[in-house]
Symmetry: C2
Subunit: 275 residues, 2 copies
């Protein structure tokens, strides 16, 4: 069921915390006229180690609240929530729902030279098998001999949240997690968690210059453009876009760290408790 929303309605975007702001950033870059409501579920972050049922429950609570706010579509800017809850959200919400996994898989298939694709993500995303499935779908009809190696990197999110993106300990941890991907000689590596682009430099150093790193943010924004454009719901260029940022925890931490992810200053963060 899809409801006809006004073109001036905002785009809803949510993540377990701050990582999804990298997707919001790409959406706003490609669609500067759009209004946006971003929800970071900071009171329950992280989603990565939690069970599919719990993540699905959280995602549905937030998706329903975004619909109450009048959004015209919902972007699941979190790989774990996309892996566990995309189908449930698409079934439950009356607006289009766009995840980050299919766009990332599509970009990886377009980029790979030999079909040796690596995926790094949270435990939940890796255990779901969602990337392997999406990569196979994306490669259908091509002659790419796909070989996927998927590795869970549970410590990357805490390291990014702590701001240790260049620390020697971070390098050791990156080395350990990426060793099987180096051994497999992947030519393309999907950064399958919206926090990981902040570790791009140290990941690139470890993988070497010949390995392409895929960040699904820009590719997801391309999907948002397509979905809104197909339904004639792109915002007109004469409006005044409004950007709301909402945290389920007290806004302080979100305000302090959020601008690093969003790439522009954050002036105000609202607080809302999801139940």
């Amino acid at each position: 069921m899809t409801r006809a929303a006004s073109p001036t309605a905002p785009i809803g975007v949510f993540d377990s915390g701050l990582g999804g702001l990298t997707v919001a950033r790409a959406v706003l870059r490609q669609l500067p006229n759009e209004s946006l409501v971003y929800v970071g579920d900071s009171a329950r972050v992280p989603y990565g180690p939690k069970s599919p049922d719990t993540v699905r429950r959280y995602a549905l609570q937030i998706g329903e609240w975004l619909v109450e706010q009048g959004v015209k579509c919902v972007v699941v800017a979190c790989n774990t929530a996309t892996a566990h809850a995309l189908e449930a959200l698409q079934a439950a919400l009356p607006v289009p729902v766009i995840g980050v996994i299919t766009p990332g898989a599509r970009a990886a298939v377009r980029t790979t030279t030999h079909g040796a694709v690596g995926v790094i993500a949270t435990s939940g995303t890796i255990a779901s098998g969602a990337y392997v499935k999406a990569l196979r779908v994306a490669a259908q009809g091509t002659d790419i001999p796909l070989a996927v190696q998927a590795v869970a990197c549970p410590l990357f999110v805490p390291l990014v949240e702590e701001g240790w993106v260049e620390h020697p300990a971070t390098r050791l941890i990156v080395q350990q997690y990426l060793a099987p991907l180096r051994a497999q000689a992947v030519d393309t590596l999907v950064l399958g968690c919206t926090h990981y682009p902040l570790l791009r430099d140290v990941i690139a150093d470890e993988m070497g210059a010949t390995v392409a790193l895929i960040d699904s943010a820009e590719e997801t924004a391309v999907d948002v453009v397509r979905v809104l454009s197909e339904s004639n719901r792109l915002a007109p260029d004469h409006g005044t876009p409004v950007h709301r940022f909402v945290s389920s925890d007290a806004p302080h931490h979100f305000l302090v760290l959020g601008s690093r992810f969003l790439g522009r200053p954050l002036n105000h963060v609202e607080h809302h408790v999801f139940t």
Copy 2:
């Protein structure tokens, strides 16, 4: 307000996740006849980086549920929840509520040789100032010239949850966090988070053999014995104690890792959603 509960009623214990099982273990060692209901809030773990209001809301939800289960007292087996919610729990619940900070502070004051006491804990616990306050109270009436150095160690919980208790990266991270405590030449170090005893070996290596490490679990269990004994509510020695373990996330992870914290096998974990 304190309700007269039966001596055969269980003791309630809760934590944000698995760490509090180290406290449950000490309680069961000192009180083998007691029944127990343990709640790990794995669906919302960790509490350490979250705001006082959010942690207080979670703690009250769990405390009220434990009272509904008929517990005769509640042990807050989490330093962050003790720091932010002990007073609110004591005001709201009709049974005695025991935290882990006062017992830890008391043990540190009893142990220190020169008054140079270090505290390591989550960001939330350190920011609350609860340990500094509790140490000052514990030192009142003694001639100990207390000098407290408190350091937040946000990456320790994810490292323990990942099981990397001996990894070279863990050693680097421990070195960095503990450097100011070594510089201060503390003689006693409080492990102010129930996860940290699992890093005891690497912390001890870094601090050196002359520094005493304080784990509040046993001392907290001493408080439980005292509170129950003063009110004649110790369980009789002829009963059959029942130990229930409850997780707010799906029980699988709790079952797999919990026995490492509890020091005995876990056979069954219940699931309950707190709202």
